[in-house]
């Protein structure tokens, strides 16, 4: 049997997820032996555009050129995995999604000079444009989760991703609760996988893995407001990373806002 053909691609973001793949260091050599890496422009020059068993896509989509390239990758790949918070949710560059004002921000940066490279638009996650088979969030992704997912995906099995919030991992670590101390922590709203790294350093979770599965955002909103937190500021905070995912969840918060104001 020939080795599974893999492509690793990066769009708008910090390249941190591709870097985490390179950061697999000693296990990288094993990985390279087990798969056939057809394309990985950040790491090598002899890249091909052929059929792929699995495409890993990092970053959000923010230009017409990228959109064309993404569609081409999708058409060649049996399985497409969005890696990292930007690919899954849009990331920081999508924090104002559905709030408008993109043109003003764009002009604030580039003025009226016309840039000919490609037409730019507000960044959106990969699944806004093509079918995504699996989402592996993280800012950046976790090495262990990536390696275990790769071995499962290339073996034709579905990898396991955490379905609970950061709080669960934080409890495993027996950290004192930052939220109860009176500092806002995004742990209850955020998908696990990082090992509750920030609370373990006595720092509130910043929400960088995006919203957790089945997040009851209206329940959390009311709970935090009852505890005396500014719930709208909290929404802004979790939108910093959760972009499209959070924007969708907070659309119908008017009733809760009304209740909190009373």
């Amino acid at each position: 049997m020939s080795s599974p053909r893999i492509g690793i691609y990066g769009f708008t973001g910090c390249a941190g997820d591709q870097l985490m793949i390179l950061n697999c260091e000693d296990r990288l050599i094993d990985l390279l032996g087990a798969v056939d890496i057809n394309s990985f422009a950040m790491a090598k020059s002899d890249n091909q555009d052929g059929e792929l068993d699995v495409a890993f896509v990092e970053g959000s989509i923010s230009t017409e050129e990228q959109l064309k390239h993404l569609k081409d990758i999708r058409s060649r790949a049996k399985i497409l995995v969005a890696i990292g918070t930007c690919a899954c949710w849009g990331g920081p560059q999508a924090m104002k999604l559905e709030e408008g004002g993109f043109e003003d921000r764009y002009r604030g940066v580039y003025g009226d000079v016309k840039i000919e490279v490609s037409k730019a638009f507000e960044a959106q996650p990969v699944d806004a444009f093509v079918k995504v088979d699996m989402k592996m969030p993280g800012c950046p992704i976790d090495k262990t989760e990536f390696l275990s997912a790769v071995s499962k995906v290339v073996a034709g099995r579905h990898p396991y991703f955490y379905k609970f919030p950061v709080c669960t991992e934080c409890k495993w670590k027996e950290n004192p609760c930052i939220l109860i101390e009176g500092r806002f922590c995004a742990g209850p709203l955020t998908k696990a996988g990082c090992g509750a790294v920030c609370p373990s350093h006595n720092i509130p979770c910043v929400g960088c893995w995006g919203p957790t599965d089945d997040l009851n955002v209206s329940g959390e909103y009311k709970l935090l407001a009852e505890k005396g937190y500014d719930a709208d500021e909290i929404i802004q905070k979790i939108k910093k990373f959760g972009g499209a995912g959070v924007a969708k969840l907070v659309k119908n918060l008017d009733r809760e806002r009304e209740e909190v104001r009373k």
């Binding site: 950061n23 260091e25 920081p92 490609s118």
Partner: protein
């Protein structure tokens, strides 16, 4: 008239390409095109609290995440009148040493070396140069480990903050860093040996200006409040606009910088040219043995400079860890005002990184970030153009020209995600 293209430019961080337009044997233009999509980060952080900004701006780039974090901290602390405790300052120095080892090992051994040895990638070098690839991975892993111990995570750690750190590492962890740094010095020296053994082509050689942050106390270092310009000038970092004067060009989502209308270089070579006489230990000897006037003209020597700097960083980790271990964990220093402005300047692995902030009533009003790659782009194009003209005059083929130009761009260790930072055009 014909056009040659290198798309994508591989073994760099981010999405870019090179376009060369030729008119017979004349080079019409050479451009380094940035295809990476814009993110408008500086606009997005307006109205944010400084702590929230510190979560977002390191995400500009994964490789130099701590440089972004640190430049932002320096700018914000200046603006808010925060004086960090000594232990926090030493931890910041240590995290920058770790990032320097991580990034310089990645670039020298894994991204640039394949060009000099004639392979398409480090992966392809495994058979013939397996030991060197393993050395690179060991160094990189250690650099990452220093970043993890200090910042909390390999990439995008949140432990460093305004006025201090969330948690300080244990004495045991610090001792471990010290021992391993010393053990790895020979692996970094090997990189110096490799990069000093190559025959560097003369084609791209042309004089330019070199800028770097002036480290305090007459030492070699990676942060400071003034900027050294190679012709002997020293300028306050707050004057960064005059030093960089940026503009927009149609072929790139990254802006461009010049000083006095001329291109300039930032990076490890600039740091060694401006501060090499401050090096100590084996790094000082290696610098003396390898430095020549060609450093002032040939950007390819940046690879060698990075290798020497990696030796310096490893040699200084034990000193930093000892000083940190000797101090008690301090409380975070608090802000003394709610409004103000400040510019933070640090040496990211690929050169000077500026973060300028203006804060009003505790919220960010203006953020201006100027990255090293944005400063290098004009200089890269200038050297590529010179190289292209001379090679064509010498009758070289297109097939010889393209890899030569690619090597020049790669030597600057461009960080395209960073360069696609978008600087404001007009002040409000």
């Amino acid at each position: 008239m014909k056009t040659l293209e290198i798309v994508p430019l591989t073994r760099v961080e981010g999405d870019g390409g090179i376009t060369v337009t030729l008119d017979g044997n004349k080079v019409e233009s050479v451009t380094l095109d940035i295809h990476e999509g814009p993110r408008l980060i500086e606009q997005l952080v307006r109205g944010m609290k400084p702590d929230d900004d510190l979560n977002v701006v390191p995400r500009i780039c994964a490789i130099c995440t701590l440089s972004h974090k640190y430049a932002a901290i320096r700018g914000l602390e200046k603006a808010l009148g925060i004086v960090p405790p000594e232990k926090a300052q030493l931890m910041r120095d240590l995290m920058m040493l770790g990032e320097n080892v991580e990034s310089n090992s990645l670039h020298t051994y894994l991204l640039a070396l394949p060009d000099f040895l004639g392979y398409p990638s480090a992966i392809a070098m495994l058979g013939d140069y397996g030991d060197d690839v393993k050395r690179a991975l060991k160094l990189k892993k250690f650099g990452n480990y220093v970043m993890e111990v200090t910042s909390g995570r390999i990439v995008h750690g949140e432990n460093p903050g305004l006025g201090g750190f969330g948690r300080y590492p244990s004495r045991q962890r610090l001792n471990e860093l010290s021992t391993r740094a010393t053990e790895l010095v020979p692996d970094a020296v090997r990189a110096v040996e490799l990069f000093s053994s190559f025959d560097y082509p003369k084609y791209p050689e042309v004089e330019t200006t070199f800028m770097s942050v002036n480290a305090p106390d007459g030492k070699f270092g990676l942060a400071g409040d003034s900027i050294l310009v190679s012709k002997g000038e020293e300028v306050d970092a707050e004057d960064y606009r005059r030093l960089t004067s940026e503009r927009v060009v149609p072929h790139s989502f990254a802006k461009r910088a010049t000083y006095d209308g001329k291109t300039y270089t930032v990076g490890a070579n600039a740091r060694l040219i401006n501060m090499g006489d401050r090096l100590d230990g084996q790094a000082a000897d290696l610098f003396k043995d390898n430095y020549s006037d060609r450093w002032l003209k040939n950007p390819l020597l940046n690879n060698l400079a990075q290798a020497i700097e990696m030796v310096w960083a490893l040699e200084h980790i034990p000193e930093a860890t000892e000083m940190i271990a000797a101090l008690d964990d301090p409380a975070r220093a608090e802000a003394t005002r709610k409004s103000g402005s400040g510019t933070g300047a640090v040496e990211a692995p690929r050169g000077i990184l500026y973060h300028h902030y203006e804060i009003k009533d505790g919220l960010i009003e203006v953020a201006d970030i100027i990255t090293p790659t944005a400063q290098n782009l004009d200089d890269i194009e200038m050297h590529m153009r010179t190289c292209g003209e001379r090679m064509l005059a010498d009758g070289k083929s297109d097939a010889e020209l393209l890899p030569a130009l690619e090597m020049i761009a790669r030597a600057y260790d461009p960080c395209i995600s960073c360069a696609t930072h978008l600087v404001r055009l007009k002040r409000i």
